[in-house]
């Protein structure tokens, strides 16, 4: 693995940070909760929860509705959150920030609008071998409808994409590339900037699934030159039900709307409807207002901690956990990429991941056991499922030690 980034930064005060997360003082089966499942969903700090509660208690109404002081206030909070997202990912304009329900909806939106316009019979959609189902199924549905085909960028046994294959895979039939920034199974940080540059040489746009990237590393969509960048609030210490589609303005302006209804229109008559400009035309109906405001606070929280410090701290935890787990002879880690986020998937000889997951749960250790919504990755590595520990900025070395001894206990039981 590469050298620790940001090693010169002031370390995080994890003991203080942990006080913001009530769940971390819960007891499961008589043991303190060890939450190593942030890749499934991040925990929200109390600041996010209290801000959302305040909105619902004292400020609740609808946005973009009427002239009341309350509605104006809610609209201001809601739009301020959009500006926080813009700044957080380095977008040029808030017009490029579309609220969605999450990563999945954002990808479906692009597939059903940009995709339906541009993908025709015989065309190709290029995805990577380590995509989440969210970045596979919407494209398969589109390909089936249009008579297009899905091509796949292969990966090595270490879990790194084979970029040498790109030149052959990017053809004049390729209409869009979808690639995950950080693999939710393998932790691999993909060289998306290079992939985007190589696709752009051939004039092909790229959608980046950033769900697992934004919590761990500083993203700048303009520096990446991404055409579309999507992520969810709940992996970023924010609430569920809110996500983001970033799209280059030229794309968003040219794309047809998707869902129709209130909020996304300029005028409606029985004869015809005219639509709002981006991002409004993609935001039909009443949005999850509290969730958007909550995501804004989550971004404030992460920004105050500093993503550089978070990345440095998590990287150190990842190295420590990798080293400790690697010492268990019957344990195999899937994904040994050079650039890796704080996610460790592993299998233990003779113990099915679901059994291991249940046993760890008995020790208060919360991990994910399963296929992680990435069955093609499981097939690639020849396993039905894995156990995955994912680390956040509030986890500690002591928690890694408890994970390791819980795994050792399970191995002992199955011996």
């Amino acid at each position: 693995m590469s050298t620790t980034p940001g090693a010169d930064l002031q370390p995080l005060d994890v003991a203080v940070i942990r006080k913001d997360f009530s769940l971390l003082s819960r007891v499961l089966h008589g043991k303190p909760v060890i939450y190593l499942d942030s890749a499934v969903s991040g925990q929200m700090p109390i600041q996010v929860i209290e801000r959302m509660a305040k909105y619902e208690r004292e400020e609740h109404t609808n946005v973009h509705r009427g002239v009341s002081t309350l509605s104006q206030e809610a609209t201001d909070f809601y739009e301020a959150a959009r500006e926080k997202v813009r700044k957080f990912i380095g977008a040029g304009s808030i017009k490029e920030i579309v609220w969605t329900r999450g990563t999945t909806e954002a990808i479906n939106l692009v597939a059903q609008t940009y995709g339906r316009v541009h993908v025709k019979e015989g065309d190709e959609i290029l995805l990577s071998a380590m995509e989440h189902h969210a970045n596979i199924v919407p494209w398969q549905m589109l390909a089936q409808e249009k008579g297009a085909t899905i091509k796949v960028i292969p990966m090595t046994d270490a879990g790194e994409l084979i970029l040498e294959a790109l030149d052959e895979l990017l053809t004049e039939r390729t209409k869009i590339v979808g690639v995950v920034h950080v693999s939710n199974v393998l932790g691999t940080v993909n060289p998306v900037k290079e992939i985007i540059a190589r696709a752009h040489v051939k004039g092909i746009p790229v959608l980046v699934d950033g769900a697992q990237a934004v919590p761990h590393l500083q993203v700048n969509v303009q520096d990446l030159d991404a055409d579309f960048y999507v992520f969810s609030g709940h992996k970023l210490s924010g609430p569920t039900g809110i996500g983001v589609l970033y799209g280059k303005l030229a794309h968003l302006e040219a794309m047809p709307p998707w869902h129709g209804g209130g909020n996304m229109i300029r005028s409606v008559s029985w004869e015809r409807t005219t639509y709002m400009a981006a991002p409004g035309k993609f935001e039909a109906g009443t949005p999850p207002i509290a969730a958007a405001i909550g995501l804004g606070v989550a971004i404030d929280y992460i920004t105050a901690l500093s993503l550089d410090r978070i990345a440095a701290y998590e990287h150190e935890l990842l190295l420590y956990a990798t080293e400790r787990l690697s010492r268990i002879p019957s344990l195999r880690i899937l994904g040994n990429a050079n650039e890796k986020a704080s996610v460790i998937s592993f299998v233990v000889e003779g113990i099915h991941p679901h059994d291991l997951g249940s046993l760890l749960d008995g020790d208060g250790v919360v991990v994910r056991a399963g296929h992680h919504c990435a069955q093609p990755v499981m097939t690639r590595f020849g396993v039905p499922a894995t156990t995955r520990a994912s680390f956040a900025y509030f986890n500690t070395r002591e928690e890694v030690d408890i994970l390791v001894s819980a795994v050792e206990k399970a191995i002992e039981l199955f011996r």
Binding site: H29, G30, G350, I351, H352, P353, H354, D355, S358, L359, D361, G362, G370, H371, M378, P384, A385, L413, F414
Partner: protein, 149 residues
């Protein structure tokens, strides 16, 4: 909820490690494939039924310890039993692990299969324990596939 560890008793661990009746009956009268989409568990059952009795039964497949031990213990429990009794056992077993039995209900047919009663406290694992029985039920009904979806 009880400690998941309580479920992993020696009998279950031992049957997982050395499953009984593992294999395939070449000249079977009944067969079915069981699939648990959530876990990816797969099970293939072959049976010889004659004179209203389950004369022989074997299984192959891969899955978690709960699934494999359940299949191993099930095949041992129904072998040589009348079909009607095997069906009744399946009924009782499903009721037990789903926590649907009235308190105090006796399950005389199940014998040591009551080892799996703790599964009812682990909702995410109920389907693992039930898969072999759902597959048996499908095979006896003449259906080719069973799913615990």
């Amino acid at each position: 909820m009880s400690d998941p560890r309580e479920l992993y008793q020696q009998v279950i661990l031992e049957h997982n490690k050395k499953p009984r009746n593992f294999g395939k009956l070449e000249s079977c009268t009944h067969h079915a494939e069981g699939h648990n989409p959530l876990c990816g568990d797969e099970l293939s059952l072959t049976l010889v039924v004659a004179n209203g009795l389950v004369q022989d039964i074997k299984f192959t497949g891969s899955g978690c310890a709960i699934d494999v031990a359940s299949a191993s213990l099930m095949t041992g429990a129904v072998k040589g039993k009348p079909v009607a009794e095997a069906e009744a056992m399946a009924e009782q077993f499903r009721g037990m692990v789903r926590g649907e039995l009235e308190p105090g209900t006796q399950t005389p047919l199940l014998g040591k299969l009551t080892l799996f009663s703790g599964v009812k406290d682990l909702p995410s694992r109920v389907k693992c324990a039930v898969l072999p029985w759902a597959t048996l039920h499908a095979a006896l009904k003449g259906e080719a596939e069973a799913s615990t979806e």
